[in-house]
Every structure is written in structure tokens, then in C-alpha cells.
């Protein structure tokens, strides 16, 4: 993975986590919170952490 892409994903991850906390605070665990969480986890699984075959706790 290029370092440029990795930088974008790092920034995206921070923003997604912040957005998730905000939604939880204002609306609770809603469908929107779940969508943001899915995107967050997909971002985390990119690049070096791509192997999703091992158990995620």
C-alpha cells in the first residue's frame, strides 16, 4: 500500500471514530452508528491488517 493511501486511511479512520462517538452521544446506537462502524472496521482491515481470516474479538 502506498504511503499516500495509508495517510488518507489514517485520517479517515480518525474522522470515522470521531463521527461514531458523536452519533452515539446524540442518538445512541442507531442504524447510522452501525453504518459508520462498518466503514470504520473496513478501513481498519485495509493494507497490513487485511487478513480478516483470524478471529476479531
Amino acid at each position: 500500500m502506498s504511503s499516500e493511501l495509508e495517510n488518507y486511511l489514517t485520517v479517515a479512520l480518525k474522522r470515522l471514530e470521531k463521527a461514531y462517538k458523536e452519533v452515539l452521544k446524540t442518538q445512541g446506537y442507531t442504524a447510522e452508528a452501525e453504518r459508520i462502524k462498518i466503514l470504520t472496521e473496513i478501513v481498519k482491515e485495509q493494507g497490513n491488517h487485511e487478513n480478516t481470516g483470524t478471529a476479531a474479538r
Binding site: L9, A12, Y29, E32, E41, I42, N51, T52, A56
Partner: protein
């Protein structure tokens, strides 16, 4: 019946799922079977006849709004919402999640409806991990690299479905093959893997092949690998001065790999897609396995296969592997190798490690009702005593919640869990008990305070009964000390 299977891991995992997909279709011939995989690994579904509809998780499309100088979370959320809504509209009767990732668990929950039967990881309504079936709970608690689990992933998959395999579930597809112009006998060597720590460096590969050719000059080796592994292949070729090496690295499609494996005497390689494709073609394998993987879970399933297991690639003794390859071709059983066998654990070790065997027997006792193994390990027994004390205290604390309140008791209960975790670090042999306990607590669904307290107490009481097998009764301890006096 409409069934969705999620397999969002990599190529090898998708091939390991083929037999379960075939079993689903065989057992439910009228069902409509859909398979969700990542777009990137879609090629691993080519030739799979059991599936009626293939769906791809379009990761690039979903993440594209986030990979811009001015990223847009709203755009990505809109895209994932459309994707989820389209799948939710399918109204699946059964969703089976064979992936053990967080993203797959959230997706499974998002796509399922109230009436959908779910197997595998999903989420509770509050977003916490939910594990509805016992086999997935076993997987969560006991499977993974460095664990004592010996059940193969393919066997866990079929158990999750409540089915059993038949021979026809393990069939490779047939494709119109290109003419490789190969002799009637050859070995395939898959020289790559998804990660460097799972395979050998080129000079090691060269030495392995050279050592094989020292015993057998007649059988050529056909090297396969991904296009980005071409340099590796060239380096290996340069290091082999005798024998015939045919370099097909970066020149084969996955269907062509199936054809190559079907005609091969043997495949040698690490934990990767061709190894799992060979399980379908029933090509004998010599699997080079390292500590980065758990061969019990992801080793070769073809009959007459073997595993050469060392800690790291640099520990491989090329002479041993070269000789083993030769012996396997001769129909001999190399004594140093782990051998493919039948049964719950798919392999037979040449020499058992006492500690590992004890842990595996503990797991079988916990989950399959087999007899708990006897031990004279004092450290283990003392740890069990301590665990029992912590657990009894936790039971007392939970029973006091109605009187003293959750706010007062919760920190004490949490402290008990912390002490358990610390105990596991000191005495790892009690891991199967603690992981069982932690998983059962995690599986408690959201509910009222009373409901959750009751379910939690039930888990602790079950742990008491389990631990009682190894707990020395206080009366016996007193008698013992009296006897010593």
C-alpha cells in the same frame, strides 16, 4: 429458502468454504444460495456451482469518498446504506457468517431481519458482539494462532451448519485446460503466500529443490505464484543447478492452477490458496507450516498429505524437506512429518507435547463432554484453586446486587475478571477455562438488570461445576495436612 453466506476473508478462506457451500446446496436443493465475498477475491468463486448469486463487497467504491483531500463520511455512509438496503430487501431466511471479523459481524446484523436465522458472528441491538451458535462460540473462545484448538476450519464450518460432509462436497471444478506440455509426473511448488512470514525466502526454496533433486532427478518441479512473485521465482531458479524447474510464476489463472494440481503428484507450499485448492483436487500436499499459522485449522485436507512444522522459515532444514518430498513420492511415510489422518483433529503428530495434549484434552472435555484429563501439574492445580476462589467470590457479589446495588458490586465483579486475566498470564494452561467463561459472559444478550445478573450468575455457577473436577475439597485438604503432621 433464501440463504446468504458471508466469506469476506481471502482466497484460501474462500476455497475452504467451497465444501460447506456444496453441502448447503446438497442438503437444500431448492434453496437460493447467495455468496458475499470481497471484490478483490472474487476469482476464487470461479467454477463454484453450488452458488446461485455472487455478491461482491465493493470496498474501493465504499471507501473512495474517504480517500480524497476533502473526505466525505456522508458519501461513504450513503454508499454503504444503499448496499445494505439492497441486501436487506432480499429478505434472507438464513445468514451464515463464515468470517470472524468485526466488519462481517456488523454487516450480518445490518442485513438480517427479525425473522432471519443467523449463524456466526453478528451483533446485538446495542452493537456488542453476538454469537448465536455454539460452534461459533467455540471458535471465538478457543480457535486461532497459538491456541490449543485442533479442529480444522472446514470442520467448524460444517458443524456450524449442523451437517456432515460427503465425498462429493470436496470436488474441484473442471475447466477446459490450456496445454501446459508437462510430463505425466511432476510436482507443483507454490513459492508464495499472502505474508512473507508464512513462506520461505528464495535461497531456502532453492536449497529445498536442490536437495530434492539430489534424490530424484526425473520429476520436474513446476513453480507457481502471483505475478508480483516473479522475482522470487527467478532467484530460486538461479539457485538450482540440477534437475528441471519449470517456472509458471505469474502465468497461471486460478482455473489453470486447478488443472495443474489435478495432474500433479504433489503440491509443496505454505498456508495459501493453492493448498486449499489441492484439498478439492485431493492432490497430496507437503505443507510447510510456521508459528504464524495454526496448521490444525488451515492445513491440507487432501489424503496422503503431510505438514512440516517449524517455528520460523529460517528453521527449515532443506535436507529434511527435500528428502521428505522424495519419500512421499515413493509412497513412504517420512517419520519426522505430521501426517494427515481422520478424526476430529485432522493430523497425527510424530511426537506429542504433553502440555499441548493436555490443553486439547481439556478443550474436548469442556465442549464435547469427554473425560477431563488427569494431571499432576501442581501449578495448574493451584491456579484452578485460585480461579475457583475468584469465581465463588464473584457469585457472592452477584447475589448481593439486589441488596447492595449494582454500582457497589460491579467494580468488585470487574476486579475478579482482572485477576482471572492476570492468572492466565501466569498459568497459561488454564486458558481453555477462562476463555470459555469470558465467551459465555460475552454471549449474554442485552436485557434488564435482573435478567443480565441472572444470566451472569448462571455462567459463574456453570464455571463452578466445571472447576469442581479439579478442585480439592476443603475436607481433603484438612485431612492431608493432618496426615502430614
Amino acid at each position: 429458502m433464501k440463504i446468504l453466506v458471508l466469506q469476506l476473508a481471502r482466497l484460501g478462506d474462500i476455497y475452504m468454504t467451497w465444501p460447506a457451500l456444496n453441502a448447503i446446496k446438497r442438503s437444500n436443493p431448492d434453496c437460493e444460495l447467495h455468496l458475499l465475498t470481497r471484490s478483490k477475491f472474487h476469482a476464487a468463486t470461479e467454477g463454484l456451482r453450488a452458488v446461485d448469486r455472487y455478491i461482491h463487497l465493493p470496498i474501493q467504491f465504499l471507501l473512495e469518498p474517504l480517500i480524497r483531500p476533502v473526505l466525505s463520511i456522508d458519501s461513504s455512509v450513503e454508499r454503504i446504506e444503499k448496499f445494505i438496503d439492497a441486501l436487506k430487501a432480499e429478505n434472507y431466511d438464513w445468514i451464515i457468517n463464515f468470517t470472524s471479523s468485526p466488519s462481517s459481524s456488523y454487516l450480518t446484523h445490518a442485513i438480517s431481519r427479525e425473522t432471519t436465522k443467523v449463524t456466526g458472528y453478528t451483533r446485538h441491538s446495542d452493537g456488542f458482539l453476538a454469537i448465536p451458535d455454539e460452534v461459533s462460540a467455540y471458535f471465538y473462545a478457543q480457535a486461532g494462532v497459538g491456541t490449543a484448538n485442533r479442529v480444522h476450519l472446514t470442520d467448524l464450518f460444517i458443524s456450524m451448519l449442523g451437517l456432515e460432509y460427503v465425498e462429493s462436497d470436496w470436488t474441484a471444478p473442471t475447466f477446459a485446460s490450456r496445454n501446459f506440455d508437462l510430463p505425466s509426473k511432476y510436482i507443483v511448488a507454490h513459492i508464495g503466500a499472502s505474508e512473507a512470514k508464512k513462506t520461505l525466502p528464495p535461497f531456502k526454496w532453492a536449497r529445498v529443490l536442490k536437495n530434492f533433486f539430489d534424490h530424484n532427478l526425473e520429476t520436474p518441479i513446476v513453480m507457481i505464484g502471483a505475478p508480483n512473485e516473479r522475482n522470487l521465482g527467478e532467484a530460486i531458479e538461479a539457485g538450482v543447478s540440477r534437475g528441471k524447474v519449470i517456472n509458471f510464476i505469474g502465468q497461471t489463472t486460478l482455473p489453470e492452477v486447478f488443472s495443474l494440481l489435478t495432474g500433479a503428484q504433489m503440491l509443496i507450499g505454505c498456508d495459501s490458496a493453492p493448498m486449499h485448492m489441492a484439498s478439492l483436487t485431493n492432490t497430496p500436499c507437503l505443507n510447510l507450516s510456521f508459528d504464524a499459522v495454526n496448521f490444525w485449522e488451515t492445513g491440507p485436507k487432501s489424503t496422503r498429505s503431510y505438514v512440516y512444522k517449524v517455528g520460523f522459515p529460517e528453521d527449515v532444514i532443506s535436507e529434511e524437506v527435500g528428502l521428505a518430498m522424495h519419500k512421499i513420492l515413493q509412497g513412504e511415510d517420512p517419520e519426522i512429518l505430521i501426517k494427515r489422518s481422520g478424526g476430529l483433529a485432522s493430523y497425527q503428530l510424530p511426537v506429542e507435547d504433553k502440555g499441548e495434549l493436555f490443553q486439547w484434552n481439556l478443550i474436548k472435555a469442556l465442549y464435547l463432554g469427554e473425560e477431563f484429563p488427569i494431571t499432576d501439574d501442581l501449578q495448574f492445580c493451584q491456579a484452578i484453586d485460585k480461579l475457583n476462589d475468584i469465581n465463588n467470590l464473584a457469585c457472592d457479589h452477584i447475589r448481593q446486587i439486589p441488596d447492595k446495588g449494582l454500582e457497589a458490586m460491579a467494580p468488585l465483579i470487574e476486579r475478579g475478571d482482572e485477576v482471572m486475566n492476570a492468572l492466565v498470564r501466569v498459568v497459561p494452561s488454564i486458558v481453555p477455562f477462562v476463555r470459555w467463561y469470558q465467551t459465555e459472559k460475552l454471549r449474554i444478550a442485552p436485557g434488564t438488570r435482573e435478567e443480565v445478573s441472572l444470566r451472569t450468575l448462571e455462567v459463574h455457577e456453570k464455571l463452578q461445576r466445571i472447576l469442581s473436577v479439579y478442585v480439592v475439597e476443603d475436607s481433603i485438604k484438612t485431612h492431608d495436612s493432618t496426615f502430614k503432621e
